[in-house]
C-alpha cells in the first residue's frame, strides 16, 4: 500500500537533459503507464524511482518519505525489465522461490505462492525447467512472475512484453493487469506502445522530449488530448488532421480550407475562443467520419464538407479501414463496419466526408495546444 510522488525531477546525462521537470503523483494501488516515443525520458524517470539513476534535482517520495538517498535495495520495489536476466542454474520454480526465501517466507507458503503464480502465467508444466529449456516468451514470463510473486511497495515494469509475439503480448498483458488489480500494488509501467498503455493504465503519463505532455485516464487522453502530439500519438489508425483557417462572422464559425468550408454547429461555437483568421489544425478520429459516394459536381468553393478519393480499402475483421486522398499531401483513414449495409466503395471513387462534429478537435497551428 503505497503512493509515489515525483517532484520537479530533472535528469542530465552529460550534456543531454533527458528529464526536464517531471512532477506527478501515483495513488495507492494505481497502475500508471509512462508512454512516449524512444528518447522521451520515460525510462530515465522510472530509473530514478528505482534508484538506478541519480536525479540532477527534484525529489522522489514513496509513502511521503524522500527516497533520493536510498539504495535500490532499500526502496522495497520489484522490477521487470525488457531483458530478463535469469540464472542459468536455477529452475523456474527456484526463480519464483528466490525472492520469497530471501524474505524468509515459510516453505509451505512459498509452495502455495508458486502454484498460484505459475497458474496465472500458464507456466504450470514448465516449473521444473531451466532457462535454456524455455522459449523467449516463456523466459520473459518467468521474469515477470519473479517480480510479481513478491508484495513490495512498488512494481516497476520497463517494456516487459517486448520480447513476446503479438498474441502472447495481448494475453500476458491481460494477466499482468489482472494480477496488479488483485494485488493492489502501486505500479509504474513504461512502454512506447500506445495500445498497451491504453489497455493497462489507470493513468497514462504521456511524455515527449523530457516533458510531460498529458496525464489522464485512457479515455481522457483519447477523447480530450491536450495537444497535437498526444492526439497523434494515441490511437490507431492515428487521428486524421488537416490545416484550416478559422473564420468568424455573424456569430458563426467556419473552418476554411481551400477545398471546403465547414460550418461549426452552434453549440460548438461558444466553446472556441480563437479569433478570426486563426490558423488551426482540424483533427478527427478514423471512426468519427461518415463516407458518402459523390459523382463530380459543385465547385470546391461551395463545399461544406471535405472530399476525398478512395486510395485503398483495407479489410480488418468485421471492419474496414478506408484510406482517402483528401489533398495531394493529406491522406486520411476512416474506420467503418464491413457489413452488407455499408455502401460499397472502390479504389479511385470520390466521396464526401461528414465529420461527427461533437468529436471534432481543433488545435492551434502554432502552439499545437487544443482549442476545442
Amino acid at each position: 500500500m503505497s503512493t509515489l510522488v515525483i517532484e520537479d525531477l530533472h535528469v542530465h546525462y552529460g550534456e543531454t537533459h533527458a528529464v526536464k521537470g517531471v512532477s506527478l503523483r501515483v495513488e495507492n494501488g494505481e497502475l500508471c503507464v509512462f508512454l512516449g516515443p524512444s528518447g522521451c525520458g520515460k525510462t530515465s524517470t522510472l530509473r530514478t524511482v528505482a534508484g538506478l539513476v541519480r536525479p540532477s534535482s527534484g525529489r522522489i517520495l514513496i509513502d511521503d518519505r524522500v527516497v533520493n538517498n536510498l539504495y535500490p535495495g532499500e526502496r522495497d520495489i520489484a522490477m521487470v525489465f525488457q531483458s530478463y536476466a535469469l540464472y542459468p542454474h536455477m529452475t523456474v520454480r527456484e526463480h519464483f522461490a528466490f525472492p520469497l526465501r530471501a524474505g524468509k517466507m515459510p516453505e509451505p507458503e512459498i509452495a502455495k505462492k508458486i502454484e498460484s503464480i505459475a497458474e496465472l502465467l500458464q507456466m504450470h508444466p514448465l516449473v521444473d525447467r531451466y532457462p535454456r529449456e524455455l522459449s523467449a516468451g516463456q523466459a520473459q514470463r518467468v521474469a515477470i512472475g519473479r517480480a510479481l510473486i513478491r508484495t513490495p511497495k512498488l512494481w516497476l515494469l520497463d517494456e516487459p512484453l517486448n520480447n513476446l509475439d503479438a498474441r502472447l503480448q495481448v494475453e500476458t498483458r491481460a494477466v499482468l493487469k489482472h494480477i496488479q488489480r488483485e494485488s493492489g500494488i502501486t505500479s509504474i509501467y513504461v512502454t512506447h506502445n500506445q495500445e498497451e498503455a491504453q489497455s493497462l493504465a489507470d493513468q497514462i503519463v504521456i511524455m515527449d522530449s523530457g516533458l510531460i505532455q498529458q496525464i489522464g485516464t485512457p479515455q481522457e487522453v483519447y477523447d480530450e488530448p491536450t495537444n497535437l502530439f498526444v492526439a497523434g500519438f494515441v490511437g490507431t489508425p492515428p487521428m486524421n488532421f488537416i490545416p484550416c483557417t478559422l473564420s468568424r462572422a455573424n456569430g458563426q464559425i467556419v473552418l476554411r480550407h481551400e477545398t471546403f468550408g465547414l460550418e461549426l454547429e452552434p453549440e460548438l461555437v461558444q466553446r472556441v475562443a480563437a479569433a478570426d483568421g486563426h490558423a488551426v489544425m482540424l483533427g478527427i478520429r478514423p471512426e468519427d467520419v461518415d463516407l458518402r459516394p459523390v459523382h463530380g459536381g459543385d465547385p470546391a468553393s461551395d463545399r461544406m464538407h471535405p472530399r476525398g478519393t478512395v486510395y485503398v480499402i483495407e479489410p480488418q475483421g468485421n471492419e474496414q479501414i478506408v484510406s482517402l486522398q483528401v489533398t495531394l499531401d493529406v491522406l486520411w483513414k476512416v474506420r467503418r463496419e464491413a457489413n452488407s449495409a455499408a455502401v460499397p466503395l472502390e479504389s479511385g471513387q470520390p466521396v464526401e466526408l461528414t465529420l461527427r462534429q461533437h468529436r471534432l478537435r481543433l488545435f492551434d497551428a502554432n502552439t499545437e495546444q487544443r482549442l476545442l
Binding site: 509475439d165 503479438a166 498474441r167 495481448v170 498483458r173 491481460a174 493487469k177 489482472h178 488489480r181 488483485e182 506502445n193 495500445e195 491504453q198 489497455s199 493497462l200 485512457p218 479515455q219 483519447y222 490511437g235 490507431t236 489508425p237 492515428p238 478520429r285 471512426e287 486510395y311 485503398v312 483495407e314 479489410p315 480488418q316 475483421g317 468485421n318 479501414i321 484510406s323 491522406l331 483513414k333 464491413a338 479504389s347
Partner: protein, 367 residues
C-alpha cells in the same frame, strides 16, 4: 502478367518437411499474402518460387512454365526484403541502377528507368541521398524501387515492413497496396501479422506446420474459416472457443457447457448432424459477436470480469467462464456502457446464428 501455381510441392530440410502438399494458384495481377505463425513454412514457399529451396516433390509453375529446373537468376522474379538490405554506401540512384548495370543495360535506359521509378514512388528529390539520410518510410521505398526497376513478372515480399515502427507500417502498407493496384504485377507477400495480411491481400494463403490451411479473400477467411486454426489465427482479439457437449432435442441440436446452452437453428442443426456424430464439439464465437449485459435473463449465463482493456472508442473485456477466459469487444458508448469492475458478475449471451462449430479432434469447421 504472371500466374503462379504450386502443385503438391514438398520441401525438406534436414530430413523433415518444411512444407508439403502445397497446392495453390495465384492469378495474374493478384496480391496474395502468405500468412502463418513462425515456422509455418511461409518463407519456404517463397524460396520454392525463387529457386532457393530444394523441391523434393511437386512442381512450381510461372505462367504455365515449369520452374523446377530453371536457375534462380533466370526466373524473372524480384524479391523485396526489409530495409536493412539496402547498400549504405550507395545513393538512391546507385541502389536502383545497380541491378540494371549488373545485367549490362544501356546507360540511357537505366537513367530513364530510374526516373520513372522515382516518379512512381515520389522519390525524385531524394535520388542523390544515401539511405542513412532518409526516413524509414523512404528507405522502404528505396528497397521497393530496387525490385521495381527490373520490371519483373513477379514480386516477392518477405516481411518487408518488419523493421518499421507501428505508425509507419500502417502508412507503408496502404502505399504498397496502392502501388500494387496501379502496377498490377502479380505479388506474393509473406507476413506473420494477420492484420497486415487482411489489410493487404486480395487473397490470403494461410499456413500452419508446413501445410496449407485455407485460401480465400480476407472476408471469406474471417467469416468462413475452414478450421479452428484459421478461426483462431485470423482476427484480434482472437475468436473464443468453448468445448461443448452435443445434446439432441427433436430436430434441434443443443450445445452445452455448464450453464451455457446454445440451441442451433434447425438448418445448422441438420448440418451438424449430417457432418458429425461426436458427442462433444468446440464452438467458436468472435469477440464482437458476444453480447454482454449487466442483468440476467433466460438466455444469458453469468461470467466474471477478469480485466477490462480500453482501446480507443472500444473496450475489450476479458471474462472468466468456468475454466475459460472469453474476450468481448464492443463500443464503450453503445455496447459496453455499464460498469465493468474487477470480479463483477455480468451476463453473456451467445447468439447461435453467429456461432461456429468445430470438430474437437480434427479442428475442421462443421457449421
Amino acid at each position: 502478367m504472371a500466374q503462379v501455381r504450386l502443385d503438391s510441392v514438398q520441401v525438406r530440410y534436414d530430413g523433415s518437411d518444411a512444407i508439403r502438399d502445397m497446392t495453390f494458384t495465384v492469378e495474374s495481377g493478384e496480391l496474395a499474402v502468405i500468412v502463418g505463425p513462425s515456422g509455418s513454412g511461409k518463407t519456404t514457399v517463397l524460396r520454392a518460387v525463387t529457386g532457393w529451396a530444394p523441391i523434393a516433390r511437386g512442381d512450381v509453375y510461372l505462367d504455365g512454365r515449369r520452374l523446377n529446373d530453371v536457375p534462380p537468376g533466370d526466373r524473372d522474379v524480384a524479391m523485396v526484403y526489409q530495409t536493412r538490405a539496402l547498400y549504405g554506401h550507395m545513393t538512391v540512384r546507385q541502389n536502383w541502377s545497380f541491378p540494371l548495370e549488373a545485367v549490362k543495360r544501356p546507360r540511357a535506359e537505366i537513367d530513364q528507368r530510374v526516373r520513372q521509378v522515382a516518379e512512381m514512388l515520389e522519390m525524385s528529390e531524394f535520388l542523390d541521398r544515401y539511405p542513412k539520410q532518409l526516413s524509414g518510410g523512404q528507405q522502404q521505398r528505396v528497397a521497393l524501387g530496387r525490385a521495381l526497376i527490373r520490371q519483373p513478372t513477379l514480386f516477392l515480399f518477405d516481411e518487408p515492413l518488419g523493421g518499421l515502427d507501428a505508425k509507419l507500417r500502417i502508412h507503408t502498407r496502404s502505399y504498397l497496396k496502392k502501388i500494387h493496384a496501379d502496377l498490377g504485377v502479380t505479388t506474393l507477400y509473406v507476413t506473420h501479422d494477420q492484420i497486415e495480411a487482411q489489410n493487404l491481400g486480395s487473397r490470403l494463403i494461410v499456413l500452419n506446420h508446413g501445410l496449407l490451411q485455407q485460401v480465400g479473400t480476407p472476408d471469406g477467411i474471417y467469416n468462413r474459416p475452414a478450421n479452428r486454426f484459421v478461426a483462431g489465427f485470423i482476427g484480434s482479439p482472437p475468436m473464443n472457443f468453448i468445448e461443448c457437449v452435443v445434446s439432441h432435442a427433436g430436430d434441434q441440436v443443443m450445445l452445452l457447457h455448464g450453464p451455457l446452452r446454445v440451441t442451433l437453428p434447425a438448418e445448422k442443426s441438420a448440418l451438424l448432424v449430417s457432418r458429425a456424430s461426436a458427442d462433444s464439439v468446440v464452438i467458436g464465437i468472435r469477440p464482437e459477436a458476444i453480447v454482454l449485459t449487466p442483468g440476467a435473463n433466460a438466455q444469458t449465463v453469468p461470467v466474471q470480469v477478469y480485466v477490462t482493456e480500453p482501446q480507443g472508442s472500444e473496450i475489450i473485456v476479458d471474462l472468466r467462464f468456468n475454466e475459460n477466459i472469453l474476450r468481448v469487444r464492443g463500443h464503450r458508448e453503445t455496447h459496453l456502457n455499464f460498469p465493468l469492475r474487477l470480479n463483477d458478475i455480468v451476463h453473456l449471451f451467445i447468439d447461435p446464428a453467429k456461432t461456429y462449430v468445430f470438430d474437437k479432434a480434427t479442428g475442421a469447421r462443421l457449421v
